[in-house]
């Protein structure tokens, strides 16, 4: 977008004002995240600039404290299990839903996506009462099930979106050449929709990785996850260890983001080839 040659002076002025506004909004988006990263290297336990000195002490604290380490392990275990379960269920369902023959599609889709929309406190409280009666509160399984319910909508959405552009003639060709349905799925369909599946899986992972509300209700001390640990940290004592944890989580987010972006490009290339 450049200034058109026929633009009036007012338009020219507006062009720069507009860019300035956009720059401010982008600053608003990114600044909070950038501001806390350097603070995690502060030698002193305060949150003010200028910082008196640099140090790794909060990272040492993060990696040496039992609580943070257990929280990290719990987060990984729960998020990975959630991702596997959610991807499996979500991909199957998306395959079914993307067939044009699916009865009451909107209704079924509405139900399957609803965990994303229902306020998470309601989900958490409902699960808390229900899971308690069947002995699932305070267990890893309970949390994994809860997170899976919250995460599957993302898999369903991304995979159905990928499948909308999918040419079923390829699958038919595979079947016509004598491949069994499962073989068709793994050799023809899956490689083509893989970018969608992986990006759905990443969303599922991020959902579980981020969740604090259901952990607050369903989890107990043994299932304390990173966000849960950060939550009590913020409420009780904002030690700079939290900023160290936050910085690590941001770096991890950058990694996830880069992965999704690469997948998106790959997917676009694949589609480009097919057209």
């Amino acid at each position: 977008m450049a200034v058109a040659p026929y633009a009036s002076p007012v338009e020219r002025a507006w062009y720069y004002v507009f860019r300035a506004i956009c720059a401010l909004v982008l600053l608003f988006l990114i600044a909070p995240i950038l501001v806390i990263m350097p603070l995690s290297f502060n030698a002193e336990p305060w949150f003010t600039y200028p910082m008196p000195g640099w140090s790794w002490r909060w990272y040492e604290d993060f990696f040496s404290s039992d609580r943070w380490q257990i929280a990290l392990q719990n987060s990984i275990v729960i998020a990975v299990s959630t991702t596997i379960l959610a991807s499996f269920l979500g991909v199957l369902a998306a395959l079914g839903l993307s067939r044009s023959h699916f009865p009451w599609r909107a209704l079924v889709m509405g139900l399957l996506i609803s965990p994303m929309i229902v306020p998470v406190v309601i989900t958490a409280v409902g699960m808390y009462f229900f899971y308690a009666t069947i002995g699932l509160t305070g267990s890893y399984l309970g949390l994994i099930l809860a997170h899976t319910a919250l995460a599957t909508p993302f898999v369903v959405i991304t995979v159905t979106a990928t499948l909308t552009g999918f040419d079923y003639n390829l699958a038919r060709a595979g079947a016509g050449l004598g491949a069994a349905p499962a073989r068709v799925f793994f050799r023809v369909i899956l490689p083509l929709i893989l970018p969608g599946v992986i990006s759905g899986a990443l969303f599922a992972f991020a959902t579980s990785w981020d969740d604090v509300v259901t952990v607050l209700f369903i989890g107990s001390a043994e299932q304390r996850t990173l966000p849960r640990q950060m939550f009590s940290g913020i409420r009780e004592q904002i030690s700079p260890t939290i900023t160290a944890a936050a910085t690590l989580l941001i770096l991890f987010a950058v990694f996830l983001l880069a992965t999704v972006e690469l997948l998106r490009r790959r997917s676009e290339r694949l589609r480009g080839v097919r057209v």
Binding site: I30, F102, V121, I122, G126, I234, I242
Partner: protein, 433 residues
């Protein structure tokens, strides 16, 4: 197993007619009419599609929908008094409500209160009645301790002798209504209504009325946040959509990074920024804008800023993806036909972005309604939204009927909007990242 053959679904009526004509006549190699085979294939495919969805459907039903259903049931379920005072409730069924209950009812109550005192369940009775009759819990506890001293009837006068409240119709009306298996008490309370002694539904007194305020506040904060994200998000979406791909992809990272960063990390960031001794106040002092540090955290301002920051990508991205599809030739055509830049934008470009605006704003509004963590950490007591009261009633006050009733109303509001969203945009059109 029938092969998924190369039969395309007819799309237009004309072709449909032709196909149906053809299938009536044509037969497959084994002599079965093509129509029958096709129907069979179609049914098998449908079954297969359904079979693929069933696992997730059942999973969501069992792990999500049923728990929420059970919770909603608690909003009307009323087991406490019927369970603790079954005989009294049974005796009260005969009561006409005009005068005091008879001796048999008093005897039943005395007996059951004695038993409750012994089994340490008096607190439960007191707690339940206290919801409807504030202040009654301590009296019930005292009555329970005193009633054990009555050894034989007649009970009526002896019981009234303990506390004159037992000689008033009000308490009995409450016991009777609290003894019914289902109640609308919680739902009424969640909207600041109560029932009088005569059964009329009236507003609760001003000093106890909070929930209408809380619902309005929830709506108000959500609307402010939605509006703020629109005002901030629209220009950036426009910029991103009009820049060449290389630059816009780079700037897109600035939008997506917060989107991918944990909500808690972002809330932490705002706590660090907004604290009285925090970065924002430092900067304002340093630049000389203010003489005294401002109260930014634990305030409505802080809540809205942090929520806007978190929701901004949700509003921005749908607008952006709609703008990407708008051809720049439209505006150019308008300009060449003599329209000024503002008119061309407002009359030609803007209307085409409306579906994106609707999608983004509705999504942000729906998600904002359910906020809990962010207001809890950066808001003050008057910035807490409905979700936080659901949590308070669940955790602190242990009044699960009330928590469920508030949840039910919030859920209803959310679902209405969700259906609207699904109707207007289609939830599966949602773009993520």
């Amino acid at each position: 197993m029938p092969r998924a053959g190369g039969v395309e679904r007819p799309s237009r009526p004309a072709t449909q007619a032709m196909v149906s004509l053809a299938t009536d006549i044509v037969r497959t190699a084994d002599g079965v009419p093509l129509k029958v085979t096709l129907r069979r294939v179609d049914r098998a495919r449908k079954l297969k599609a359904v079979a693929l969805v069933v696992p997730l459907f059942l999973f969501i039903l069992l792990s999500f929908a049923i728990p929420i259903g059970v919770m909603l049931f608690r909003a009307v379920d009323n087991p406490e008094i019927a369970g603790a005072l079954p005989n009294t409730v049974a005796e009260l069924a005969r009561w006409n409500g005009d005068e005091l209950p008879d001796e048999a009812t008093y005897a039943a109550l005395a007996g059951e209160l004695q038993a409750a005192h012994k089994s340490k369940t008096l607190g439960l009775i007191g707690k339940r009645l206290n919801y409807e009759l504030p202040g009654v819990r301590s009296k019930i506890m005292a009555i329970g301790r005193a009633v054990t001293k009555i050894e034989a009837g007649p009970y009526k006068d002896a019981v009234i002798g303990i506390d004159p409240m037992l000689g008033e119709r009000r308490l009995w009306t409450v016991i009777k209504s609290a003894g019914e298996p289902y109640t609308i008490f919680y739902l009424l309370s969640a909207l600041d209504f109560e029932r009088t002694q005569d059964g009329d539904i009236v507003n609760v007194s001003a000093d106890r009325a909070i929930f209408r305020d809380v619902f309005l506040r929830t709506m108000g904060i959500s609307m402010t946040v939605t509006l703020a994200t629109l005002v901030l998000g629209f220009p950036v979406a426009y910029l991103l959509a009009s820049l060449p791909a290389r630059t816009s992809n780079l700037l897109m990272i600035l939008v997506l990074l917060p989107f991918w960063t944990s909500l808690l990390v972002r809330t932490t960031a705002w706590v660090v920024l907004l604290q009285t001794e925090g970065v924002v106040n430092d900067a304002l002092m340093l630049l000389g804008f203010v003489d005294e540090r401002l109260q930014l955290i634990f305030s409505r301002f802080g809540t809205i800023v942090a929520m806007t920051h978190i929701q901004l990508p949700f509003t921005l991205l749908p607008i952006y993806s709609v703008m990407k599809t708008i051809s720049p030739t439209h505006v150019r055509a308008a300009r060449s036909l003599g329209a000024g830049p503002f008119v061309a934008f407002w009359r030609i470009y803007f209307p085409q972005t409306v579906p994106g605006i609707a999608a983004g704003c509705l999504l942000t509004f729906i998600l904002s309604l359910g906020y809990y963590i962010t207001p809890a950490l950066v808001g003050g007591p008057t910035d807490q939204m409905v979700s936080s009261f659901v949590a308070i009633y669940t955790n602190m006050e242990l009044n699960w009927g009330m928590a469920s009733a508030l949840g039910a109303i919030l859920l209803a509001a959310t679902l209405v909007l969700y259906l609207l969203y699904n109707r207007l945009i289609g939830i599966d059109k949602l773009k993520l990242g």
